[in-house]
């Protein structure tokens, strides 16, 4: 369950950029990694409290996202999937190399405030940090769903993706809408990265090695639907954890078997099927 929420936290940003905007953004992990490094550096060098770094991480990574969106990404909105894959993989490679140059190849230490390391008794005892993640995950879901699916802005994003020309005709500034959406997506990536380093660790290959998990969640969830993404993340998390606890012999098989099975059964993921036209 908690592992699922963690997966969700990392994948929700991708669900925004890839799902809503339809851009195959494999560089998502790079933004998440940047978030992790910013948090780790602020805590280690500037002595910031962990919680204090989170809003800043969201802002900075969001800004960096806009920068990339304005200069590079936007030229590829009309391009094919292959070009997008190649381009973002290129970004990932560069990010990995850059992180190695700046922060070195080793694991970064992230020290949590003591109150998050406590364990809280709720029938079964839960580590406080996991509870914290649960809360953050819940809040994020509500905020993102309300913000992107129920508001005017959300409608504008959808209109801009479906038919940019018509959206422009309706007085929507498509460029701004895309830039803001991308900023939110990458900001969320950064936030997810910062929150996950405590459990996953942080080194320059972070961007590459967790990519598979983000994609797993987003593809099983179905593109562009935040609640489905959450559902998929929790389901995959549960399968993984239950599998490891009860049948550790089969280990890595479980996650992938579940994914392959679900996608063969429902290629569009959990998202409610669109009406055929």
């Amino acid at each position: 369950m908690v592992y699922g929420v963690l997966l969700f936290l990392m994948a929700v940003g991708l669900s925004v950029t890839m799902g809503l905007m339809g851009f195959v953004n494999l560089a998502h992990g790079a933004f998440a990694m940047l978030g992790g490094y910013i948090a780790a550096t602020l805590m280690a060098k500037a002595g910031w409290p962990f919680l204090g770094t989170l809003p800043l991480v969201f802002l900075v990574v969001g800004l960096v996202g806009v920068l990339f969106e304005r200069t590079l990404y936007r030229r590829l909105y009309g391009a094919g999937e292959l070009d997008q894959v190649l381009f973002t993989i290129g970004l990932v490679f560069m990010a990995v190399a850059a992180a190695t140059l700046v922060w070195g190849p080793l694991q970064q230490a992230v020290r949590l405030p003591p109150f998050l390391l406590e364990r809280i008794k709720f029938g079964i005892d839960l580590p406080a940090y996991r509870l914290f993640l649960l809360v953050v995950g819940g809040v994020l879901t509500v905020v993102v769903v309300l913000g992107l699916e129920r508001t005017r802005f959300g409608a504008q994003v959808r209109a801009a993706v479906d038919n940019p020309r018509m959206a422009t005709g309706l007085g929507i500034n498509v460029e701004v809408v895309f830039a803001v959406t991308f900023a939110i997506g990458s900001g969320l990536a950064g936030l997810g990265g910062a929150l996950s380093v405590q459990i996953l660790g942080l080194d320059p290959t972070f961007a590459l090695k967790h990519l598979v998990y983000f994609l797993l969640v987003v593809s099983v969830g179905g593109l562009g639907s935040i609640p489905s993404t959450l559902g998929a993340a929790v389901l995959l998390g549960l399968c993984d954890v239950a599998g490891k606890y009860y049948v550790p012999q089969v280990g890595a098989f479980i996650l992938y078997t579940v994914m392959v099975g679900i996608l063969i059964w429902r290629p569009q993921g959990f998202k409610p099927a669109k009406r055929a036209r």
């Binding site: 364990r119 996953l200 090695k209």
Partner: protein
Amino acid sequence: MRVTMLSNRLKRWTLRFGAAAVALAGTAGLAMAQEPIKIGLLLPYSGPFADLAVQMDGGVQVYMKQFGDTIGGRKVEILKRDTTGIAPDTAKRLAQELIVRDKVDLLAGVVFTPNALAIAPLTVEAKKPFVIMNAATSIVTTKSPYIVRVSFTLPQVVSPLGTWAAKNGFKKVYSLVSDYGPGHDSEIFFKKSFTAAGGEIVGEVRVPPKNPEFTPYIQRIKDAKPDAVFVFLPAGEQTVSFYKGVTERGLVKDGIKILASGDLTEDGQIEATGDIALGTITSGHYSYAHKSPENEAFVKAFEAAFPKGPRPNFFAVGAYDGMGAIYGAIKAQNGQTDPDKMVEFMKNYKVMSPRGPLEIDPETRDAVNTIYIRKVEKHGGKLLNIEFDSVAKVKDPGK
């Protein structure tokens, strides 16, 4: 611009021609004195394991800084080749090119067993000594009479730990290892020595090699209520993730001790795991905190070469001792590089290494190490593996 290019090319041409002429005309001895000794060093310089190459390359550099870059009047030239990771086809090709094109005198390095195994047959065919500086699976040295290993094997490291644990009050131990070759080896050999000394393995679990989440396993271990858990995980992110799970599940607070091979608290990255590692008991052949003049000199030289870190670890020492064996073998024949004589020398090599006494078993050409039992303690703000017990002259029990 063009003129300098031309003259450069001329220079290169005359150099090459000149070298060939010398080789043809001069006596072998004369040519030898002028030709450098070429050592092909195969390490994963790029890719996800680049940090290991940093350690090992550092070990080589430090040795050459301490003991000079000439042997018997001949310059030592290191030809670095990037294996990119576990890639036997690339490793074999690079070795082949080093032998055929670059005409190296010997091969060295190699982090991963599959790479070593792919290269092994070449060394027989080409008669090139092959000094293994890491690749820690038992079988490696059996694959070619030209292979000499100066590092260690996992069975060698974990077997003494099993015996030690059984004799020091641990009755029930749960085993958790990474699900690949070295993990399987550790599981088997720890169990063997531990049960032989009267202990009982109450549960075993193998975790996927790229597993990011340990809590379910740790919960499972907790529920089995053992005295201790035995762990083998490859040094790096897995060890950090493991300790994060331990913190969250409160394994240490519940009084379950952690026993492990030295990889878990490997010196280069131990700081990233944090204080939760305190009290972990490991067995290993090298500790950064080993007290000896040799190690002090080694650490000092290494830290001078890499002021920003990392701390040298057993990878660096493996490479350092490999260079020691190579230097010794060539010195013993006054700068000559007869392959069989080199292997013959290395077979009987004995040295006081930064890790402690190291010798090569002439039967198996494998390292014989003193294995130390260590405990993670904090001294001067640093997490260190402090040695408190040892077993001398441990041979690889895997053969």
